[in-house]
Symmetry: D2
Subunit: 370 residues, 4 copies
């Protein structure tokens, strides 16, 4: 295995500083396995993925690599560096409000035409050609005559790298959150390898995030090929891992999650050695059953329901404190939900306006086969 | 004419303060004309529309009203009150980054079914029933069991009022901007009444803004009725007026724009008197020819091209200053565009990251008939 | 005991909303004890003090009150409501950067002159006159012809109420913090009553905070009277309680701290009943030995040292992770301090610029007598 | 004349980027004149000083230099790059709220002791020794064992360079402002050389700004030497130039101001050629007569009084619009001041909370001799 480091410029700040991100490439002696792209910290406050990349690189020193791995920590320097008070305001572009993770490109390759032109190729050839077309569409957008936004420039630079890989992992965290995985419907069996208890099963449609940008074009190609009587499979796997809470670095926990990733990579043949999945219960939930609960009124919030812990209908979710109403029954309100659920994440601040997203909860949770 | 004032609560702040907006209702002696809804300041820094509402209310004291007018200034108190340094950070929700003017509801009325149920009604009846259905769909969303976001709550409260009117005007401004009008394609003749030189002709599709939320359902009803052999017309007119620059109150200019609005209202029969349009040249541009130009590199910006002033291809748009490159030709770069255009607005700050939206310009501009 | 509620307007927002704070007044049957003023949440993210006030009011229902207590929760609505991303940006005025807790007035009463004029009064009389003078100086400043800043207006309204009391408690929190008390040097014996393990012993000088604004004028009066041969004592006691971390509501812990406050009030004769201090170790540190440690370089931070737990010189304080330096010894740096200390609080975010205040630690800690 | 460029690292961002500032040094053939230090853009939105440095460097190519000039544009990259919405949030550290221009060091050289040790030196020698001591005190603080804040690190790096010069110019702007000069009382005659109509005459006391940090120690040395019977004069001159409004680059106006600076440098013998001051009226005002006017209530603001234009007592300063009060006399309030004045600057936003600093005005303005 050989490690090389490079640096990619993804932007430039008003005072002239280049925005560069570090890129680590691990190359096997003999390249026989699938290739992997892993990035972290596209949302500025979600730093733990960097620690996971750190631990994964250390772990990999003890394994035999079969596929190339590209690791991109600190993927959004503008977001990471944007402080507002004592916290990182890294979820959206501070100028436009655009969510950094909704800026990826939905490649507008016109499949009937494209497929007709390439149908004569064998499977490997068609995959190679499609991959090139995806990278090319990113590059074309990057060189648009009228320029592109700061967020698109970053996203397309990252996406160009991701399109070159067979496996794409985007490391995020929630605000105050337990670990959970976004996993496309057609690939739910992958969930049993990561060290993550809760899996959101998402449909094969594009919403602007990296995982979708990586797998949707391949799923569409697969569907179209099937309609033409050819079974291509979905050549690319992409997942978003939500590794607990933002504004938190925990090196021991990062090693645990790095091992989970290693297990999946082992399953996929990226390393030669076999790594056993952690023995743990794993649960799934369809995205349509993933519910946001918004504050019905404003106030101070005691978060009572623990993330990752099943909550029965009617059990307390939060206590809402209204000191302007002491002496009335409005002063302290216990709020609960009408259905059984597993709270996955909650808001980061202890005071909320009416309408603030208080909790996201999984309902209709089911065990995943292992 | 009778003026009444009321107050509508649209939210609640963390420390308990109710967010209320003032509503003025002008009622005619005899209600024979179309009804009007005018709001201002949904984006917090775009204050001039309030001054226009102020001047319009003063002007209307001298006219005979035939239709009811509802005026909602200061429509987004959370946005208006959100300061960051010496400016108003009012374009998006500071918690989520969501643009306050992309939170309106695209009423999901299933037309074939709905139309079949109501086809027996006469035109007035069908319009009345459809209006009720639109208001009802807003109210249903407002009472969602899982709550709704702060921005949706505000938007749906405003939209519920707008749906009750035949004419909807949403008063905005650009950052540093000349006056321009967003006008739906089917109603471009309306542009000749306002005191606004540049008109963007927009397609009949929903993008989340108030004007679209107001007219799109009616355009769809009109199309569907036509497909069923019935000519209903488009019963509701809706426009967004961009009244020059943000962070600016100019009472004299506000009177000028109030008079332009009055002219349109006169044309529509909302007042009894006839008001002549201002004699001025007016130009149009299709939305697809409205171009954003993003900073190709970072630096300090001298905005050379004036807004509202035609600019030939190759003429200087901005000077980009890079003090970190003094002594090289990078120190001062003159940037121009490859096509003739009319700059409509430019960025508000004099220093930019790479990718910042520097200018929006109209290309393929054409004179509007008057 | 009689509870009355009122509301005080302390400002007005751009869109017209009045900024009001709730005020609760508990009045004894017979007013024989000292009077008390307690406020919370002057820094917007420091919400736990409100929960403590809530629990204290509930507790007091079971005691016999001898002195009047004024409680002001949610004391800074502008700060509480100012969100930036998912956190509260409530430490400073978002327009000016001024720390909300440095806006109090240092009453410029010219003591030699004032004392000469009032020396003939008995002790109670001189205290009453001085109190009136302090309130008056706040009121004069509030009615300044040229206006006063938003922060001064809030602070002076609060300070006017505080000056009317014999005991002043300002409830704050740190960012990520253990409980600690700011206690003036001359009154260190009070520390044994609160349920707070660490006490900062502060000198009798004015730095702009509420506690100093409340006791400094009285300490100066006492000193001056002593220089004139009269022992007045220091008539007013004032403390800042830092009740653990910001952005946190914990009702059970709030009851614990409310009981600590009740214990001090019992000691001072504000309630008739005797309440025993919690049995716990308490430690002190002189303010000059309270050290700030700033990040020597930038990076991601794993906070290793627990707040409130003694740390030996050389033991790990933080791990600093630099993913842009993987493969070098800069990638992971263990940082420690050269002296024994007790870490009291640390920064709230897990990534830091060079120079960010990482930790505040007590050195030269000593046990407090109980 | 020889120009050299270097780069100084003044900080490091969370994601690892070094914060560097460009430094240009112009060196004469023979160094016979005083040395000069000029910096710009310490407040992030105040960019015009960079354009002035650009034009000054271009102008100087045509003159014969006698003293060394150090030019530091873009002096605060963190502040310049900190956007919040469409504006630069560059006045204070976004984490702490600390004003970037209040972070300089008041060198605590204990004069009686220091002077006694150096009194034997001749004037040049004592000046050289004092200069070294000032630089040394900055360097000591920079290497503090417990680290220093982000803002101090920047300020002390700049101050170390400034202390090496005989003339220090700090280029700022106001929010919406006319040009004005901060000039120490003992050097008011310098005001006649710059192209600036209004001069604030400031006392010789330290408030944390660069100009004060540069000249106060020298003024104190001069005073102390005088008390010992020796006339040293004040060896260093320092001024803050406020070059109109923030968020504005105007290259033509920058050349005008560069010429004004050149005129002062010519007068001081930094260039060989004689340059005539612009013929213009110049006025002064003592800092104690420079008044801030705070918004007496909240609302929308039409700024009526022009900056730099004398305003009689009672003439309109602003119109304050309250759309929530239409129909009452509160709807539109005309606000004026009770004294004659010259408005120098006003707030940048058109809506204000109660207490916002609306205007700064000079009162008791007097003509400066030319």
């Amino acid at each position: 295995m050989r490690m090389s480091k490079s640096s990619l410029q993804v932007g430039e700040l008003a005072a002239g500083q280049a925005l560069c991100i570090p890129i680590y490439r691990l190359q096997p002696e003999a390249n026989t396995g699938p290739s992997v792209y892993i990035q972290a910290n596209v949302h500025g406050a979600e730093v733990q993925g960097n620690a996971v990349i750190f631990q994964l690189m250390k772990l990999l020193e003890n394994y035999r690599l079969l596929g190339e791995i590209t690791l991109v920590p600190l993927a959004n320097p503008l977001g990471i560096n944007q402080k507002s008070g004592e916290f990182t305001l890294g979820r959206f572009d501070p100028i436009t409000g655009n969510n950094w993770n909704r800026e990826y490109l939905d490649s507008a390759i016109e499949l009937p035409h494209w497929y007709a032109e390439h149908a004569r190729l064998d499977d490997a050839g068609i995959i190679q050609a499609y991959r090139s077309a995806l990278v090319e569409s990113c590059q074309q957008r990057l060189s648009n005559d009228w320029g592109i936004t700061t967020g698109h420039r970053l996203a397309l630079n990252l996406q160009s790298m991701a399109h070159r890989a067979d496996i794409v992992l985007d490391l995020h965290t929630g605000p105050k959150s337990c670990k959970h995985l976004y996993c496309p419907e057609y690939e739910v069996s992958a969930a049993q390898y990561f060290s993550i208890p809760y899996t959101l099963v998402i449909p094969n449609s594009f919403g602007g995030a990296m995982d979708e940008a990586a797998f949707c074009p391949w799923w569409r190609l697969s569907e179209y090929a099937a309609s033409q009587g050819r079974d291509l499979g979905v050549a690319v796997s992409a997942f978003t891992l939500e590794l607990a809470s933002q504004e938190r670095i925990d090196l021991a926990d990062a090693e645990h999650d790095a091992l989970g990733i290693l297990t999946y990579l082992s399953h996929r043949g990226v390393i030669a050695e076999s790594v056993r999945p952690a023995a743990m219960a794993r649960y799934g939930c369809y995205l349509r059953n993933y519910k946001k609960f918004h504050a019905p009124k404003a106030g101070l919030v005691e978060y009572v329901a623990g993330v990752g812990e099943p909550l029965k209908a009617g059990e307390p979710l939060v206590n809402l404190l209204r000191l302007d109403h002491y002496g009335t029954e409005e002063a302290l309100t216990r709020i609960s939900l009408p259905v059984d659920c597993v709270p996955i994440l909650h808001f980061a601040s202890a005071s909320v306006h009416q309408g603030t997203e208080l909790y996201k909860v999984m309902t209709e949770v089911f065990p995943l086969d292992s």
